[in-house]
Symmetry: C2
Subunit: 326 residues, 2 copies
């Protein structure tokens, strides 16, 4: 077709390609207790941002779509592994409006499905035809170790409100942004990026990932978002908002916040109150600024790359993530 | 030194080399909640059979010790990953006379330590200097998937006594022998094996692994072994012995066995009774023959390799495993 497709249409197209490939990842019937949960996870849908980052990073430096698809699938499988195991560790019962694996089956099944997903991720990564497969596999591997470190820090910080903002940001960078950085770096390498292009795309994803996570924390405070209002607070999760407030609010606000979040049951009215307090001490404005700052930095970086449809899509991806409601 | 060292001394030497390398695997201090359990696991000791198989397989085809040490370490780390996650799934509280990770810390810590061990295993595997790192990484990866399948089958068969002997043997081959086969195959490739040598060494490890597992089941029935007498039966684990007995014993023996193993508490006297029944229906003799058959086949295979100290050590490894008491 000669008509220019829109950003949304292209993203939908990439998602379709990825979903089709993911559909073939675990097509063995037996053992059922292993492949059924693996399929359940991989076919749950989602925004597929990480494989899209592989694709766009590859294309932004002149690479071909087909050359990076196995790696794109690998990164998405890896992401799903982290979700399955994190859900056990965080005792989350729902994910994308469906029961989590350990809830639908049991913990043993979820541990094993996650383990299998890691190996399946490597299986697809290793299909990549590239002269330096070792470099790609090293980035993938060292990235997983960082993601584990991030998850460990997240658990260590649980229930602690003496965590500084920088510590918290370092944690979310490892836990969330790192996988996006892996995606961009591997896509860039497959696409034939030079060192400068590669560094730009990795840094772009660092900013994108951190902005994405802070935005996620902010969405929790919006009644009109797709997330359940105040779900983080109700589940006593720390977010950047609370970390900032405990570091910067006055003693009276801190005391009130502390009391609310330590109640056994937190109501919508409590969350409203928390939001007002976070607003009063400047936390909501600060977080909004932090998101914007990262989006601006990412856009600035992209301008150093040659113009292309993929570069343009990477620009639009930033706005899309900023505007998202869930 | 000019004196010829014995088999035991050489094994001790290899173990020392592996242990020293394992000591350096997780030397980062933070996050403590991640690296501390990882170190705890890697420094627990053990027979280090899998890395020794990498080393001996490499040397048996003319390869150098140094060339396969990273891969040997990788295989041992991978093995430890399976132990940590299996212990959670099987709710085992003790391993090598120490608390298991999920018992000493908690489940989240153990899940994460296991995940990190997989990535650390790949990290070491990828250090291997070899022209076809992709082939080595593929074998490692597809092996992990098989091990996951084996573990899934093990869980599926739990509490079921309608499992046939062949199904059971297929399961233990994936769950136990597969990792030994990976070890030998990777060692052989690094050592520069031709296709025939490689096939021999893989098959050797298949026989060794299966013999090892059946021997393990038999040791459980010996009062003089290092294992707690009847620990498998007391923990209601199926073993080859029970699978065979339920397939081959007469109705009366099956009925008595069924009653004993379904008691809430199983005493030493019950285990004695089980052993007498397994003896009466020929199961103990059958299992002993199955071990011997595999040991003989493995020795037969080895004779096709050129003579070398490593080939001799692989021979002796079979006897050592057969004679072991724990």
């Amino acid at each position: 077709m000669a008509t220019m497709s829109s950003f949304q249409e292209r993203m939908e197209n990439y998602r379709g390609i990825i979903n089709e490939r993911l559909h073939g990842v675990a097509n063995k019937p037996n053992p059922t207790s292993f492949y059924e949960p693996v399929r359940y996870v991989l076919e749950a849908g989602g925004k597929r941002i990480r494989p899209i980052l592989v694709i766009l990073s590859c294309q932004a430096v002149g690479g071909k779509l087909e050359s990076c698809l196995d790696a794109a699938v690998a990164v998405e499988i890896l992401h799903n592994f982290t979700l399955v195991h994190d859900d056990i560790m965080d005792r989350d019962d729902l994910r994308r409006s469906r029961m989590t694996v350990h809830k639908k089956w049991d913990e043993a099944t979820a541990i094993l499905a996650g383990d299998g997903l890691v190996a399946l991720a490597y299986h697809y990564l290793l299909k990549t035809e590239h002269v330096d497969l070792k470099e790609i596999a090293d980035i993938f591997t060292d990235g997983i170790i960082d993601v584990c470190e991030g998850q460990a820090l997240d658990k260590e910080y649980e229930g602690r409100f003496d965590i500084g903002l920088n510590q918290y940001l370092e944690m979310i960078e490892k836990k969330t942004a790192r996988l996006l950085m892996i995606a961009s770096e591997i896509g860039a390498i497959i696409g034939g990026a030079n060192q400068n292009e590669r560094a730009i795309l990795v840094e772009y994803s660092r900013q994108l990932g951190n902005a994405f996570q802070i935005q996620d924390d902010l969405l929790d405070m919006e009644t009109t978002s797709g997330k359940t209002f105040g779900s983080d607070i109700k589940r006593k999760k720390r977010t950047l908002l609370l970390v900032h407030a405990f570091e910067h609010a006055n003693a009276s606000i801190r005391e009130t916040l502390w009391q609310i979040i330590h109640q056994p049951d937190i109501t919508d009215a409590d969350v409203m109150k928390v939001r007002d307090l976070l607003d009063a001490c400047g936390t909501l404005r600060f977080a909004g600024q932090q998101v914007q700052l990262r989006i601006d930095q990412a856009k600035q970086l992209l301008r150093e790359l040659p113009t292309s449809e993929a570069r343009n899509d990477l620009m639009q991806l930033l706005d899309w993530i900023l505007m998202r409601k869930s």
